[in-house]
Amino acid sequence: MPDVTFTVDGKQITAPAGTLLIEACKSAGIEIPAFCYYPGLSLQAACRMCVVRIEKMPKLQTACTTPVAEGMVVSSETPEIAQARKATLQLLLGNHPLDCPVCDAGGECELQDMTFKYGAGESLYAEAKNHREEQQWSPVVYFDRPRCILCYRCVRMCGEGMDVFALGIQNRGSSAVIAPNIPAHQSPDHLAHLDCEQCGMCIDACPVGALTSGAYRYKTRPWEMNHVATICTHCGDGCKTTLGVRSTSDGAEIVRGDNRDKSGINGDFLCNKGRYAFDFANSPERITAPLVRQPDGSLKEVSWEEAFAHAGKKLRELRDAKGGSSIGVIGGNRLTNEEAYLLQKFARTVLGTNNIDHHRTADYVTFAQALAGQQGRTASWRDTQSYPAVLIVGGDPTNQAPGTAWNLRADVRLNKARLYVANTDEIKLRRQAKAFLQLAPFGYGALTAYLAGDAASASNAATNTSALDTFRDAVKAEEKLLILIGSELRGADLKRLIEFGLTIPGAKFALLSDYANSRGAADMGLLPDMLPGYVPVSNPGPFAEHNAPTKNGLNMLEIFEAAGRGELSALYVVNSNPISRYNVDPAVLKDTFVVVHEMFMTETAQLADVILPAANLYEKGGSVTNSYGDLQLVQKAGDRAGVRTDFEMIVRVADKMGADIKALVPFGKGLRADMGQSRGAQSGEADRHAVWLTANNLEPKLSPFDSWAILDEIQRLVPGYNLLRLQLLSGNDQHLEPAAASAASANRRDLVLPSGDTLFTSGTLGRFSPALNDVQRYQGNEPLIQIHTAAE
């Protein structure tokens, strides 16, 4: 759009025609107060806070609905406007109790700020206020009616943003209220409730303290927390989240999660899990001391030294006596990249085995191989915000990758993107789709064959074959197409789909997996046949310096088969629960020495000989890679006495095995620790020096527990991980492309086992989150709702 030039408060501003005045002012650093306006949602003009004076217009105008025009002359702050805003505030405060000292929003409330600014705390209105008690609408959403200023943000957020439409507005005038979708008279406890996705987006959007969060309400104040920017530990989207943390007697507790600064690819979005399911970290069931199995079969708490020494000694003996190939290693989907890399390096160079695997939730090996040699063909998650056309084959983002679904809905709503959905189920995103293709049960293979040109497969792909033709033609006609692929597509099917997509010049691909670092686990080579960066074990290329075995190891299933045959001397499991996931008979491990890093007494931990209490992803630093291949920074937020990071524990076990730690973790390299001057005239020197070192990957790594030392190695050796260090450290995402060699073996087993997680489950971890359990039970319709009335 052409630019127009106009004046606000005497300042000349230029903005594209059609920009809303409020946005143009914001970009120019002029703040206009707004309650109902919310970027990305439809315009409401309900609050009248944003009024400004525009020359030649008879009355004050709402800046949130007025597009800028050439030559416009605007005043944003005059006595007239202040008077109008004050009067508006008095009306908005008609039912409001001004109970800021006890309100959750106090200290970060737009209404509070404006009331201070315009001085409308004393009202001219003498009518009695309409009071209603606080209501619990669901385990996570509470409503305090008197604080509501009827801005409709929550209603629009839930409808347009979430496509749930669980909130409405009822009655009229000063008795109008926001109402949830289960009316009191229809609910078993005669109280109004919400039947919805429980995302808490409405709470986040609420400019005041009317909607409050079950996790956070009345717990603390915004200024009493530390705020740590990190990545959600749940699904494969990798939403950025700011965790509010406060100290407790045994560490630091997370009390809140949101992304209101919109700093990540998820914008302001978090789903139920991201917003509430951090509470597993505070669970009293956490293991907080190392445990070693005694001769009588019981587990005994021991010192760290004893646990590491025992694990190290046994592993060394078994390796030396029975060979590395008798040992299996299983890594988790929520480790950092550095930990995953370190684990496979530990397995391959210290234990001497390629028997290494993880719970695979998508076939990234085939994905990387099918795109070998291609440039710019993998999609970043950012592309889901802006691509003009998107095809989703398989998967159900609404449940499995809620952040992706959020971005796609916004793309359709704001950019009129064309969404094509092909699925065996009627997934919810079909409601935004331009075309929905209902596939026959298990029809993905037939679909890819059909797309590859095998017309005979059409009838196996879909009952309506003419719809199939139309669908294919519409997709092929797109010039820029994002192809999102669900984990149902693997191996040959996945390859065929990608080959079809490659015939569309502007197509980009992404394969969706299930956990925070599922992609990282695959990229970092937690696989029996692939080294990091999908380098085949048999042809280690850059990794030749590790002198690791070059024969493919045993995969997840083969490891347990070997155990069943009595051929597995030891099993090393890091934050994974294969026993329950793969329904392994515990008896197969009876003669295997099992070391487990875990937070909880999972089915797998119960069989361990040594249990090392682990920190979770919210309690450590490093990097993770989301489904799309976007690398992001993880920072330590929570803390718990008695646990250690997987990184440290691997290094310590390796040390007790007698490994050369400098070879395992290349620390102590880089410059000598010349920190520059920290005081006096040259004091800025230290900071500048540090920035320079960081930018050049030369910051001193002084300890073997410094995971950045491993990041240096990842950057040096892993194809595709040519990352920008400062970009990572400053909390920005960056897209990485796997640079695989094309497929070597044709008959590789993909072993993909989708997690089957929904909006309210998250693998084994989710079972230990009280919030997820509550919401599951609630949405499962048990009449469990117990109303806690507001603190007196």
Binding site: A166, L167, G168, N171, R172, A179, H185
Partner: protein, 169 residues
């Protein structure tokens, strides 16, 4: 064509609704008239009415309730056979609307939005009913009565009680 199989409405009303949805560019525009006609037939807007109307207009029940709760003429509880609506808005107030209301309350022994035990009368205080020139005024079901005095109200109520009033429900 109606896709509703087990309509709770009479065949005539159901047919009327089938047509109503075709009259507007957007289906949901039929919501307010539909609610009114449904109330006339059923006596009030019951949960079943909300459900069927939502289905007919492809709305969520929440949407129907949002609109329903906005209008004071729509009620979610049964009224009496004769619903007495007394205006107390400005013109009527100046000419004794509140006395009329108080008189009705006393006479019928019920308050605002209440129903007599025998379910014959219900009472409501309402905003302007557009009969200001002849204030004070009241409406019984769809029947207007103006230039009221307490004596006249007694007569009107008696007529209805005797079953002789117009009943244009």
């Amino acid at each position: 064509m109606s896709t509703i199989t087990n309509s709770i409405f009479s065949p005539e009303t159901a047919a009327r609704f089938d047509r109503l949805v075709t009259l507007y560019p957007v289906k949901r525009s039929a919501l307010v008239p539909m609610l009114l006609y449904a109330q006339d037939e059923v006596g009030y807007v019951s949960d079943a009415v909300v459900t069927e109307i939502a289905e007919r207009l492809d709305l969520l029940e929440l949407d129907v309730r949002n609109v329903l709760s906005y209008y004071s003429m729509l009620r979610t509880k049964p009224a009496g056979k004769y619903n007495v609506q007394v205006c107390t808005n400005i013109s009527c107030m100046l000419r004794g609307g509140y006395e009329i209301l108080d008189h009705c309350k006393h006479k019928l022994g019920i308050g605002h939005k209440e129903v007599t035990a025998d379910k014959v009368f219900s009472l409501e205080e309402v905003e302007c009913i557009g009969a200001c020139c002849w204030a004070p005024a009241m409406q019984v079901n769809y029947d207007f009565h103006d230039n009221l005095t307490t004596v006249k109200v007694d007569e009107i109520l008696a007529t209805y009680r005797a079953g002789q009033g117009k009943d244009v429900k």
